[in-house]
Symmetry: C2
Subunit: 339 residues, 2 copies
């Protein structure tokens, strides 16, 4: 049995495609000769802007549809060899709307996998998250794929979000086991890069820091700045998605993280420097108004298993990735999030 | 603020009430002077038999309704001071029907909590499970409330079941935080006792062993019989539910387990002895036909936190509990499960 789905000549559907990761992956798949890439989106979070640069490509097609409507997915996936499942609520919107979030993150995934089964799609790549390891005082050190889900002291919305990703992964395993659908689960860590959106707690921190520095305001660091973050550049993630389809791997779940973690203080200093300099950061004790995701100490999201299973390694470090983000943002006015 | 809801004079609704735990808890609440106990059930898993012994009590009322229909719950919870949330799919039915199982275990809980909020119910007690600690090689030793969720090597349906309970708990915390609903989460371990049903993998093992011994067949032990199980007697659990309402505790999650764990071999020998003797057990390597839940070594589900928060300790050990189960079963013919 060969679980590889070559990119060239095949048709892919990106569910939740009008997004940061969706648009980058569409470009990646088109660059590698995909016969067609369909971006399926309900535009609840997605935006026309995120995909404007792709609209002229004759092999790209936009389909308005909703993951909560199985018939939409059944039609969109006709004739597809690969499906990338991105559509999801993240922690912030899960906090605002747990009803919609649980629908999309669970029933939406079931609908997508069912539509893959019915249409005999060869492979589904599911966007999971390092949120499956949880947060809180017990999360530190090397986070490998066998790390359990820690929830002590974690805000409910973040627990719910992580648990929905665990369920999505288990549904992938269940469809593989019961129906032979090939699946690769990629546990994304926080994504940043060109066409950055405003929906993820941690990615938002980069944009907020950049905006403050550009306005000449002091960037804000919570606590002493020693808290770890581990990001991944969107272009690296697009490549991981492509390689997940093209690799022979199936029924696996692997981390997709950037070259190395960074502390919040290092991040603020790096953004400040790349933005051309700015005032010293201000250290504040806490930010009461927002769901905050903290860990117990320094950690690193290990990506060695991804190298073993799909041959992927991150290539863009934060200095280079932030440089690209800042260059892109210089030509784009801030827009508040719809989601 | 006092989160205690005295039993005497108050009205309680047991959602998923026509069940092993539901009927036992109804009896417990009625015995302690509840003004009314409503058993809400759709009879998908529940049965008239489970509650037949209660039907003559004028303070008991049966309401046919479905947790997937919010209006059913809104009506049933009118005027209630307490709600016990039992309705759930367990691992075996989650494997057979992940669509129905995810609906009931997630949206059903949301609907129940929402109906509590609208009706100003004072306290909700949510039936969670030791499944929130997962299974597999890393689950051993003392399982305390902060133990994370282990999923490596665990069957998808068991992962999904455990994750739905984690989500249910987080929804309780969310309703407490956002709406002030008092909640106590009890993490039940496998329940056994009179009016035992056929739905839970581990509880089923007791009944199957008993049935084999009574037929003069050799009881079956998987592996070498050293595997740990930790059960709780249904009467102890009914008392835990009552004490969760009556205690001042809120926004807590605690284990509810029997006095001590048991190995499968000890269990088989105990059941055989209490049934009046029988042939020696047969040791088989594995049971391919069924979802099996294993742990990595000896474990104990700690119940000390329940003593601290709601004053509850288990009282009935397995010898006494099994004696009661066997006496009850002697007067009841085996019936296969509907669920």
């Amino acid at each position: 049995m060969n679980a590889a789905v070559p990119i060239a000549g095949n048709r892919f559907v990106i569910i939740g495609g009008a997004s940061l990761v969706g648009s980058a992956t569409a470009g990646e798949l088109l660059d590698h000769g995909a016969a067609e890439v369909v971006l399926f989106d309900n535009f609840a979070f997605g935006s026309e802007d995120a995909i404007a640069h792709l609209r002229d490509n004759p092999r790209l097609r936009l389909v308005r549809g909703d993951v909560m409507r199985l018939p939409d997915l059944l039609r969109a996936l006709e004739g597809a060899q690969g499906a990338l499942l991105l559509a999801a609520h993240m922690t912030l919107s899960m906090d605002r709307d747990p009803w919609g979030g649980l629908d999309v993150n669970i029933r939406g995934v079931q609908n997508a996998l069912e539509a893959c089964r019915v249409n005999r799609v060869r492979k589904a790549v599911f966007a999971s998250s390092n949120a499956v390891y949880g947060y809180g005082p017990n999360v530190s050190g090397e986070l490998v794929e066998g790390t359990p889900f820690h929830t002590v002291g974690v805000p409910p919305a973040a627990v719910i979000y992580g648990a929905t990703k665990i369920i999505g992964e288990a549904l992938c395993r269940d469809y593989h086991r019961k129906h032979g659908l090939d699946t690769v689960v990629l546990r994304y860590c926080t994504v940043y890069g060109e066409r950055q959106h405003y929906r993820a707690t941690n990615a938002l921190f980069i944009i907020e820091t950049l905006d403050r520095v550009r306005r000449g305001e002091r960037p804000i660091v919570l606590g002493d700045g020693s808290e770890t973050k581990h990001f991944v550049y969107v272009g690296d993630l697009a490549r991981a998605n492509r390689m997940a389809f093209a690799a022979d791997a199936t029924d696996v779940a692997v981390n997709a993280s950037g070259p190395r973690p960074i502390t919040t203080l290092e991040l603020v200093r790096l953004v400040t420097r790349l933005a051309g300099g700015g005032p010293e950061p201000e250290f504040i004790a806490e930010d009461r108004g927002r769901v905050r995701l903290t860990s117990g100490g320094a950690f690193r999201i290990a990506h060695e298993e991804a190298a073993r299973t799909i041959g992927w390694r991150p290539e863009v470090d934060m200095e280079e990735g932030l440089r690209r983000l800042i260059a892109w943002r210089a030509g784009n006015e801030p827009r508040p999030a719809a989601g």
